[in-house]
Symmetry: C2
Subunit: 272 residues, 2 copies
DNA sequence: CCCTGGCGTTCCGGAAGTCGGAACGCGTTG
DNA sequence: CAACGCGTTCCGACTTCCGGAACGCCAGGG
């Protein structure tokens, strides 16, 4: 079981119409076909072919091959859907991340301390993927898929991850700083300023930059690599702006930094 | 959001050295490469090539292609590991199963009623994959990957799913009834008898047939298709034999059957 | 009622991608 | 220092895959 990877950093994180220059063209297009299902739950050959700009027959064969492999399933009406084998693989992928197990206790305690939702995010392309979450109010509120992945530039977690990773910053800027709310930082210069402040302070904030009314504070979880601490994940506290960035802000900052530091130390200790 | 598929029923559920007769050979082998990672967390090109009986260069290209697609990640030492994109896809796959959301409340109540662990399983090949679980004691006990998938023949959930599905029975018998404990039913005739009893009673049991000391009782969650109820999932109660199959057995049977019936009704109602 | 439109699927030939073997660079081990 | 194992790259022969068109099917509408 490994701790965590260096960020994969594929520059092409979007669901582009076609991947590109790599051997195994058919495998690449097969992955692109899978990507189509990130947006829509059910797709048929015609729509997949249109989205990827490939022949309908090709799309049909791809879908059939992925279905016999179990990565897709047929829905009664001849269309396809993501298969449960992906659930199995996905669970294996996170189970093998020591990070999650190490972070869970500290996340629970931080949730009790602050009474807010705590998130554990890692970098995937130019997005932040949350691999664990401790809900503030009721554990019954399920981890909604719509909120499992955020663009890195508009979240506090994305900022602590990008702050120490020049290549990631480049990728984020190349992709463009999309505006989600009136508060979203879309100016590259301002964004770099914020990252500099993040480096300096050791934590990052986001004030309603992705969803109106919701703000967050994040601190990096680091691992010593080559003698220097290197962020491998981000711990973030998210809640209504007044509860996170209001008078309680110092307490939130202190809490999330301490928890992140403790997780980092535990991670360091667990590293074999 | 669909309710559930008809069972996928791939006959080749094993991690065979090579898939076979289908178009898109390279996609098939790519899926086989992924399958290799179900057993081992980290693999290199040489080992993958050996397991699949393909050339080392081919394995290397497959690994590289899957990694650029994000389905695999490189681990510092040149080997590969399942990628977090699989986690994302997998979560999407189960989120889109209306089944899980519908079943969750009833599962929680049944857990409170019986004070045992409740599982929600679906059929994947000749195995049962548990997509949700309500733990009896502490919710902190995480869903261990080792126990997320069971061979269908040795679990009560697998029996209620197979009982009404002749093709699945054939597949299970073709794969062979492997013995896990002294109690595992390995005789095909006896297995068919048990399935007949399951059909008759409307529920199935398993007495320490997979893990010594642990037994289970399962009832089918059905959906009317073509005028007849068709099992799409199984609800099972698992615990120490004395607590599940002892004097409390009638209560457990009644509880799981009622909960499964309620979920079936809710599912029928939710079906668009 | 039949016809049209859209769907997923199949067939076929040309052509491009892919396979396996051997060679390379590199780290580790004896 | 050499030998080994690893992941990777190169190359030619060939197998497989791509795209277009035709097929069967279902639903909707004239």
């Amino acid at each position: 079981m490994t701790v965590l990877s260096l960020p994969p950093l594929d520059l092409d994180a979007g669901v582009g119409p076609a991947e590109d220059d790599s051997p195994l063209r058919s495998v690449s297009t097969a992955v692109s076909v899978l990507d189509c299902f990130a947006d829509e739950a059910e797709l048929g050959a015609t729509r997949v072919a249109a989205r990827l700009g490939i022949a309908k027959s090709t799309a049909c064969r791809m879908l059939a091959a992925l279905a016999t492999g179990g990565l897709l399933e047929r829905t009664g009406s001849g269309r396809y859907r993501l298969g449960l084998r992906l659930f199995e693989y996905g669970q294996l992928a996170v189970d093998r991340l020591m990070l999650r197990d190490v972070a869970l206790p500290a996340m629970g305690e931080l949730r009790e301390l602050l009474r807010e939702t705590i998130q554990l995010g890692v970098s995937v392309g130019t997005d932040v993927l949350y691999v664990e979450r401790a809900e503030s109010a009721a554990m019954n509120v399920r981890f909604r898929s719509e909120h499992r992945r955020n663009p890195a530039h508009s979240s506090s977690a994305g900022r602590v991850l990008a702050a120490a990773d020049p290549a990631l910053i480049t990728a984020i800027l190349e992709r463009g700083l999309q505006r989600y709310t009136p508060f979203t930082v879309v100016d590259p210069l301002r964004y770099r300023q914020i990252l500099a402040i993040t480096r300096e302070q050791g934590y990052a904030t986001s004030r309603e930059e992705f969803e109106p009314g919701w703000s967050s504070i994040a601190a990096p979880i680091t691992l010593t690599r080559g003698g220097r601490p290197h962020p491998v994940a981000a711990l973030s506290v998210v809640g209504p702006t007044s509860r996170v960035l209001g008078p309680r802000k110092p307490a939130v900052v202190q809490g999330v930094r301490r928890a992140a530091a403790r997780i980092s130390a535990d991670l360091e200790r667990a590293r074999g």
